[in-house]
């Protein structure tokens, strides 16, 4: 930019110089013209020369008349006398007059000449004899010499003046010359600088153009892979005139990329992304109009033009297969998978942005369901996701609004039929959506971390409600893994017990075996502290997941709850019964009671009673109900009890326990 400022100043200077040169030149030209005019005015020698000739003519005719006496010569003499006088008259005016005025000697000579000539005027008028002529010849003898003298001086003066004028002219010409040279040089420099400036400007212009192109490219492309970016992706859609009736967007998300990036480094990760992008590009960009874009991170998208809906699924499958093949990077072989979501439109002018959103949604759903799978977007998927989002949002305020409350399911001693405990189960009654099933909102709460608050709330409620139950009835509350890991559970439990003055042994905390899976040291420490507090601890849902028998022995559980899956198809001699019996053996060794869940029929009850399980829980005894109803159930059972076996009249419910 400095250059431009400099150029402007320079241009102004040059223009000023040119302006001055022009003005000066005009003035010098004017001076020169004046000098030339002067030179004309002072051309006196020319007039002088004529005077000499005319004087000579006069003398000549006078001499001829004196010698020959011819009248014609007399006439000519008279004529030339007048001519000479006329000539000399003109010497006293104009340029010659100025000369005479400035040369006193010539002036005197001129006056003398005029006096001399005018003194013979009368004789000249009456020139009638040769004698007179001879006399006049003598009288006028000096005329020639005087004229010569004046002429010579006039010539001298004229030559001097001409020299002075020439000198002036030469000087003016030199000045003009310098001015013209200055102007020419200035103009030349201006031209050169302009040319240079033009070149600089052109170059700058080209640079700006290139930069603009580059920015435009950067704005629409992913710098790493060179693919279109998320911004540009929707604009890449070109409605095709023939063939394709469907437009599909497939979103691919690499599985486990973050792990590879973290373990192998970003450079490696970038190379993997480039290789994956190349593979996708080769797969997808086989048809004109098909586009692959990198949406960001390890997420890619493909825009396809298809004639059949099923093609999208096939292409997504093939792409996933291609991505599963090992990548060779820096001499290492790395394998990665991907999950895909598809959205298809049959419209002539599809909303690509909307399709991308839908495919993204389908992809998220597929990933939640099973990594490496493909999911096709449909309306129910959107509703599901939207419901999930709504629940996720509303869950934040659900406890505050009192929408989450515990329901209690009774636990019965299989030997005596007496109620020995209740399990508190969280229930959410959404103001608009009604009851939300626990298996829908618990995973959401776990994912968002709100399970901690819900757990806290549940413990507090359970401790409060336990006061209304008979003193020999325990209250069980489920703990999530997060609560154990977070470490607040001790404080939460102690606070709840203190606030309600509930005896700690009446509180039972249930944890699933997943607590023990990663590193059992920390959970065991937490559980030990809780045990120290005096609360009972139960291992929940045993038999699902990894079900390592070591979990039974690494901690001294008060209870082991066998998953309802083993009870569901409980028949004599079945594997389920054998497992229950085996667990019973182990539990007896550690001193833990065994609780079976999901008891729904009398037959199941009888089989379980046969194995010697301690406690049963399920619809056969009662479904989870609010505390008031739970109290009523307990009262009813204890009334019908004293030593009586469990009434067989209770009908089994076909519905599966919602726990």
């Amino acid at each position: 930019m400095l250059q431009f400022v400099w150029f402007r100043q320079f241009a102004v200077v040059i223009i000023v110089v040119l302006g001055i040169a022009t003005v000066l030149h005009a003035r010098v030209v004017e001076d020169t013209a004046t000098a030339v005019r002067n030179s004309m005015r002072f051309d006196v020698s020319w007039i002088g020369a004529h005077g000499r000739i005319e004087a000579a003519q006069l003398e000549s005719y006078l001499a001829r008349y004196a010698a020959l006496g011819r009248q014609a010569d007399a006439d000519s003499t008279q004529l030339y006398y007048q001519i000479l006088l006329g000539r000399l008259d003109s010497w006293d005016v104009g340029g010659y007059g100025e000369f005479l005025a400035s040369n006193p000697e010539s002036r005197r000579a001129y006056d003398q000449l005029m006096n001399l000539l005018e003194s013979v005027d009368a004789e000249m008028s009456n020139l009638d004899s040769t004698d007179t002529a001879s006399r006049l010849l003598d009288t006028l003898a000096p005329v020639g010499a005087i004229i010569e003298r004046i002429g010579a001086e006039a010539t001298d003066s004229a030559v001097n003046k001409a020299a002075a004028i020439r000198q002036t002219l030469t000087e003016k010409q030199a000045t003009q010359h310098y001015l013209v040279i200055t102007a020419l040089i200035s103009a030349g420099i201006m031209l050169i600088v302009s040319a240079f400036q033009n070149r600089t400007l052109r170059r700058a212009h080209r640079q700006v153009g290139r930069a603009a192109d580059k920015f435009a490219y950067l704005a629409h492309h992913d710098p790493l892979t060179g693919l279109a970016n998320r911004t540009a992706f929707p604009d890449t859609h070109q409605p095709k005139s023939t063939g394709a009736s469907h437009t599909a967007v497939i979103v691919f998300d690499l599985d486990g990329f973050k792990l590879i990036n973290d373990t192998w480094g970003h450079m490696f990760g970038d190379k993997l992304l480039i290789a994956a992008a190349k593979r996708l590009e080769e797969m997808i960009s086989t048809e004109p109009g098909n586009v692959v874009a990198r949406l960001g991170g390890d997420e890619f998208a493909a825009l396809l033009h298809l004639s059949d809906k099923a093609e999208a699924q096939a292409i997504a499958d093939r792409a996933l297969e291609a991505l599963k093949r090992p990548f060779e990077i820096d001499g290492s072989s790395v394998t990665i998978g991907a999950t895909a979501g598809i959205a298809i439109s049959t419209r002539q002018n599809p909303n690509v942005r909307g399709l991308l959103e839908d495919a993204d949604l389908a992809q998220s759903e597929a990933k939640a369901r099973k990594k490496g799978s493909v999911s096709v977007y449909d309306q129910s998927l959107r509703e599901m996701v939207e419901r999930r989002l709504t629940l996720e949002n509303d869950l934040r305020h659900a406890i505050g609004k009192g929408e989450i409350t515990p329901h209690y399911q009774i636990q019965v001693d299989l030997g005596t039929g007496a109620v020995v405990g209740v399990e508190a189960l969280a229930r959410w009654h959404h103001a608009q959506l009604g009851p939300i099933p626990p298996d829908e909102f618990i995973p959401i709460a776990e994912a968002s971390g709100q399970i901690v608050d819900i757990g806290k709330h549940m413990i507090a409620c359970a401790c409060r409600d336990a006061q209304r139950l008979p003193p020999d009835v325990q209250v069980a509350v489920n703990l999530s893994v997060i609560q154990i890991m977070q470490g607040e559970i001790m404080e939460t439990t102690a606070d709840a017990l203190m606030a309600t003055r509930l005896s700690p042994e009446r509180l039972k905390l249930e944890v699933t075996e997943s607590v023990m899976m990663a590193d059992p040291k920390q959970p065991i420490a937490v559980l030990s502290e809780l045990r120290y507090l005096g609360v009972s601890l139960a291992l929940d849902d045993f038999g699902t997941g990894y079900s390592s028998l070591s979990y039974l022995t690494t901690f001294h559980w008060d209870e082991i709850k066998i998953d309802r899956a083993f009870v569901r198809n409980l028949d004599a001699g079945s594997i389920g019964l054998s497992v229950i019996e085996a667990v019973l053996v182990l539990a007896r060794k550690t001193g833990a009671k065994v609780v079976v869940e999901g008891v729904e029929t009398r037959k199941q009850l009888e089989l379980l009673q046969g194995t010697g399980c301690d406690i049963g829980q399920g619809y056969f005894f009662g479904k989870p109900v609010p505390i008031d109803m739970a109290c009523a159930q307990i009262r009813e059972i204890s009334r019908s009890l004293p030593g009586q076996p469990i009434p067989a009249s209770r009908k089994a419910r076909r519905k599966r326990s919602p726990e």
Partner: protein, 162 residues
């Protein structure tokens, strides 16, 4: 009576002859035009003849006069039209044998005068008469050069059209 009339006539004739001779004496030929003119024969003009052709006036300074005299005379274009000049230039010869050539186009471009009078007085030889070619120098600045000064012949005696 007849005799008287005859006598009177004779006297009258004689008188007119004498008178015309006297006229010839006081009104000499002052200009001769020859060359490419109508009829091809040289024509002589006296002062009164010239004055009869037409008259014009120019007030101008010259290098040979002080101030700006009033010149009167025959406009050159009228004179040339009068003689039916059919050439491109005029060779002008003066009493002092000065000779100059003037393109005829000068006379259509400028009101050039063949002056007979200066400030109301007839030009004498001493006053560069009897005829003086006067350009309107003051009116047309471009005429103030040697070229036109040289064409401004004085004491003009004859003109030859070529």
């Amino acid at each position: 009576m007849k005799t008287i009339i005859l006598l009177f006539s004779a006297v009258l004739l004689a008188t007119s002859a004498v008178f015309s001779a006297a006229l010839a004496q006081s009104d000499p030929v002052i200009l001769t035009i020859d060359g490419a003119i109508e009829g091809g024969v040289a024509r002589d003009f006296t002062r009164s003849e010239l004055e009869a052709i037409g008259s014009g006036q120019t007030v101008t300074g010259t290098p040979w006069h002080d101030g700006s005299p009033v010149f009167e005379g025959v406009p050159m274009d009228m004179l040339l039209a009068h003689v039916g000049a059919e050439g491109t230039e005029a060779d002008v010869l003066a009493l002092n044998n000065y000779r100059t050539t003037i393109p005829l186009s000068d006379f259509s471009a400028y009101p050039v005068l063949l002056a007979l009078k200066q400030d109301g007085e007839y030009l004498t030889v001493r006053n560069k008469g009897p005829l003086f070619i006067i350009y309107p120098f003051d009116e047309f600045g471009e005429l103030q050069t040697d070229l036109y000064h040289a064409r401004s012949a004085w004491q003009v005696r004859s003109i030859t059209i070529k």
